[in-house]
């Protein structure tokens, strides 16, 4: 492996590029006309414009990206997160072209990307599921029957969904027929696949996920858990490792279960297994993410391991040189996603030209961003401005550090606002401070506004 094409943009592309550079790998960036002036174009050894701004013509433009790889002599492709990272066709075309895809094999992406198939596979591997169906349900009556059995509220989810998209909570049986029709339409529109399944809905569980690493030879380790319970509109905004107050034995059971599940599925690379943990500390498998996660820095900070480096080593055919018993987390890491959005207007994105940007720094603060003081937050992409991560020996110090770091952040531009103050408010919520919050935290905040 000599040349890695990074099929992504923004902070994650820059973050991957940095590790490539450290490993002596040549970096090929792709970019849309919208990102022409971005820092990645300057950082890369070679940058290729693959299309106009809209993602479907650039960052999702598989033929153009493959052609860019061919023309630049790239022998590996890192997909980042989002875009083509979990599109099995991309992995398949890479494989067929003799290019190393930095991620699991196409067949594994296919299986785990189908949530119904993933539930079946994980149940078979012994992971607990929420009560509900494994197979897709064909009509509203079938859903009503299951719901009557497992009790309301239930959640109807698209088989092809994931990352918080394509799901519908049903609280009232009378509303079920209408909501069932809606989620099938939505699923068809979003994923081209209208199959749905149903499971019990936990309105106030914790979102706990396990970071795993598996090599090509059936070896795997897990790197603890992340708590991602602080979500707005089902998108994570604050992540933390380790999850506060998670008992050590539960942490080990969840971790082992997750690793067992992905190894059984033939997983290769870095992946994340998501669980819900209820107030009785029972855990339920949710989904597998076949990519590096946005929130991976908190795991890197507590374990001292560069996950992208591990991804590239595994993709290059090397064996894992980490042993589970040697993996010891140190301290507490917290990440906040600073978005260009307006919390007061339903978290509406606020893209625009920046004329000022102050990023936090100092001891044990890490900022992942591709934003610059004179750059533009494009309306075409995710409004993520910067990921601010901190580390500290304990949680109170980590919280104090995050408050300090967020206070140092500012972004100015006509029409641009950020969720910085909202994040500070969330951090100061008594439940968050106590570490006893769950996925209902943000609705508590927004409902009280």
């Amino acid at each position: 492996m000599h040349t890695v094409l990074i099929a992504n943009r923004g902070e994650i592309a820059l973050r991957v590029a940095r590790t490539c550079r450290e490993m002596g790998l040549r970096v090929v960036a792709i970019y849309s006309t919208e990102d022409r002036d971005g820092p990645l174009v300057r950082f890369a050894d070679k940058a290729v414009c693959v299309g106009p701004g809209p993602s479907r013509h650039s960052y999702l433009n598989l033929p153009a990206i493959m052609e860019a790889a061919r023309l630049t002599g790239a022998d590996a492709v890192h997909p980042g997160y989002g875009f083509l990272s979990e599109v099995s066709d991309f992995a398949e075309v890479c494989e067929a072209s003799g290019i190393t895809f930095v991620g699991p094999p196409a067949a594994v992406i296919d299986r785990l990307g189908d949530k119904s198939a993933a539930r079946a596979a994980m149940a078979e591997a012994g992971l607990p599921l929420l009560p509900g169906t494994i197979e897709p349900v064909g009509d509203a009556e079938a859903v009503a029957k299951v719901a009557a059995e497992i009790g309301y509220p239930v959640i109807v989810k698209a088989v092809a969904g994931g990352g918080g998209r394509g799901m519908q909570v049903v609280t009232d049986p009378d509303e079920l027929p209408r909501q069932y029709r809606e989620i099938r339409c939505t699923a068809q529109a979003l994923f081209g696949d209208d199959r749905v399944y149903v499971e019990r809905y936990l309105p106030s569980a914790r979102h706990i996920e396990v970071q795993v690493l598996c090599d090509r030879y059936g070896n795997g380790v897990y790197l603890g858990q992340r708590d991602c319970s602080v979500q707005r509109r089902r998108q994570k905004i604050i992540e933390e490792s380790p999850p506060p107050g998670l008992p050590a034995d539960l942490s080990e059971r969840i971790g082992s279960a997750a690793l067992q599940g992905v190894l059984a599925a033939g997983y290769v690379g870095a992946g994340t297994v998501e669980f819900l943990v209820d107030d009785l500390n029972r855990f339920y498998f949710m989904e597998v993410n076949c990519r590096i996660q946005v929130e991976h820095p908190v795991t890197e900070l507590t374990y001292g391991i560069d996950l992208v480096r591990e991804q590239l080593r595994i993709a290059g055919g090397e064996r894992l040189d980490l042993a589970q018993e040697d993996l010891v987390a140190r301290g507490v890491a917290i990440e906040c996603r600073v978005n260009a959005e307006d919390p007061a207007r339903g978290f509406m994105p606020t893209p625009g030209q920046l004329y000022g940007l102050s990023l936090p720094a100092g001891p044990f603060v890490r900022v992942d961003t591709a934003a610059t003081a004179s750059g533009r937050i494009s309306a075409l992409y995710d409004p993520l401005l910067a990921k601010i991560a901190v580390w500290a020996p304990d949680r109170p110090q980590a919280l104090a550090r995050m408050r300090r770091a967020l206070a140092e952040f500012s972004a100015e531009g006509p029409g641009v606002s950020t969720n910085r103050d909202f994040l500070l408010t969330a951090l100061d919520h008594p439940l968050f401070v106590a570490g006893t919050h769950d996925t209902s935290l943000i609705s508590r905040l927004t409902d009280s506004h």
């Binding site: 414009c49 693959v50 153009a64 990206i65 052609e67 860019a68 023309l71 004329y355 004179s374």
Partner: protein, 165 residues
């Protein structure tokens, strides 16, 4: 006067003697090279900005037809930019071919007259041959990309002068 008197940024401060020199020199050379006066001129290099405007009357006196854009923004452009006209750009990343097959004559050469929709090249991407067509009637004034070379999306391949149609 239009509302272009606005600094692009307000976040930095510096004497920038060298940069300023550069910007001034490029403004002078630009104005010297112009046959006519633009209505407005703006140059910015990092923190240094030079903007100029001329009145309508002045513009009418100096130039012939006021079809030029009202504000000429001098942005960083690739060096060697010379002829004005309509650029035909690569529709995707791929390999550019000037001719339908290896030993055939090129679709077009400099000086050729072309009609709108006429094929002027090929970009091959993932074994797909994507025809490149002229977007207007005109005369080919430049072929920028060499035969059989990689091009990226939006890269200028051929320039056509539509006034020479």
């Amino acid at each position: 006067m239009t509302s272009l008197m606005e600094p692009a940024q307000t976040d930095t401060s510096a004497p920038l003697a060298e940069a300023l020199d550069e910007v001034r020199r490029s403004a002078q050379s630009l104005l010297a090279d112009l046959g006519d006066r633009p209505r407005a001129l703006r140059i910015r290099a990092g923190d240094v900005v030079v903007e100029m405007e001329w009145t309508e009357q002045q513009h009418a006196r100096a130039g012939s037809a006021a079809t030029e854009p009202a504000v000429a923004t001098v942005a960083p452009t690739p060096p060697g930019e010379a002829p004005t006209g309509i650029d035909i750009c690569a529709p995707t990343v791929g390999t550019f071919y000037r001719a339908p097959e290896p030993d055939a004559a090129p679709f077009v050469s400099e000086g050729d007259q072309v009609r709108r929709g006429q094929q002027v090249g090929i970009v091959e991407a993932m074994k797909l041959m994507i025809p490149v067509e002229a977007e207007a009637d005109g005369r080919v004034v430049a072929v920028h990309a060499a035969d059989c070379t990689p091009v990226e999306y939006g890269e200028r391949l051929i320039t056509i002068d539509p006034t020479a149609a």
